[in-house]
């Protein structure tokens, strides 16, 4: 596992390095909800990444620049956009999700994305949809509060 928790400065690094390499990504899961203002705790940083070959190539370069050392086979898996890749040996724990449960296509989620201080974040509706589809015990536990947050977020002007 990573040596320390995920810090704001590391999120900024993701944002800046991914922008530099033109990586199309979205914060997903609880980490995405937290960026939108949802008060909760998590260990996981989940990124939903566009699975096009160009984007996967840019992603491989970007994550190595962030300090994740990839072996050749691991890099090959990133390049082909394996559906789920979990990196736990870098500066922070990072899950790369190319086909999240409950979201049909990256382009759709990208179209609905919310920008928060330059971070690209899945719309809360997509975050809820993916948790609903994943249907793990931890998801079922968090869904009622996430739905309440969606109502609150919309009432405050979120669309």
């Amino acid at each position: 596992m990573a040596a320390s928790k995920f810090e704001y400065t590391q999120a900024e690094e993701i944002r800046d390095v991914f922008a530099k390499h033109g990586v199309r990504y979205l914060f997903l899961g609880k980490s995405g909800a937290i960026l939108l203002g949802y008060p909760d705790t998590t260990q996981d940083t989940d990124l939903f990444v566009d699975k096009t070959p160009e984007n996967c190539a840019a992603l491989a370069i970007a994550i190595e620049e962030l300090g994740f050392a990839l072996t050749d086979p691991q890099r090959a898996e990133v390049l082909r956009g394996k559906d789920f890749i979990q990196l736990k040996d870098g500066p922070f724990d990072l899950d790369l999700v190319f086909a999240p449960d409950g979201i049909e296509r990256f382009a759709d989620a990208w179209g609905r994305r919310v920008e928060v201080e330059g971070f690209a974040v899945c719309h809360p509706v997509d975050i809820i949809a993916s948790k609903q589809a994943a249907n793990r015990a931890k998801d079922r536990e968090s869904l009622p509060r996430l739905r309440a947050f969606l109502d609150y977020w919309r009432a405050r002007g979120g669309s």
Binding site: Y8, P39, D101
Partner: protein, 151 residues
């Protein structure tokens, strides 16, 4: 001289905190580097789950596997009564959302991301799956159920 964990501010104030807020859930030593620690996720995210007067519909968070301080076993605390009363769930959440909205993102980050060891899940530096279904099946089969990754 560095102080020991038992002299930590949090540990010094446990008794006061429990008088004020009811019983605190604790992480078992196997989950927190060999010593007990307050289960911050349970306290911060789901305080209502510990309340005896809170509504207990299917919508209310049910699972909080945690540990009672000084006890060597893990258990589900969703039925553990607390002395903290029974406010309306929605208004409680709303006030939490409002409090969060008043904090800058950088501050929210500081309290939102935690770092604890998750057995099995954290034991290798890299893993990958061809499909999400494969990953979910792996979680079901390999991870301790109390981590909550099962269906």
């Amino acid at each position: 001289m560095r102080s020991g964990l038992s002299e930590h501010a949090l540990h010094r104030h446990v008794a006061d905190l429990e008088v004020r807020h009811g019983r605190l859930p604790w992480l078992h030593p196997v989950d927190s580097y060999g010593s007990e620690a307050p289960h911050l996720e349970a306290v911060v995210c789901h305080p209502v789950a510990l309340r005896s007067g809170a509504p207990r519909s299917a919508e209310v968070p049910k699972r909080l596997v945690t540990h009672q301080r000084g006890d060597d076993t893990l258990r589900d605390v969703s039925d553990v009564p607390s002395n903290s009363g029974g406010d309306d769930l929605a208004s409680e959440w709303r006030s939490e959302f409002e409090a969060a909205a008043r904090r800058p993102l950088r501050v929210r980050f500081r309290y939102a991301f935690v770092h604890t060891y998750k057995p099995v899940l954290d034991d290798v530096g890299y893993r990958s799956f061809d499909t999400m279904a494969d990953y979910r099946a792996w979680c079901e089969q390999e991870l301790p159920s109390w981590l909550g990754y099962g269906r």
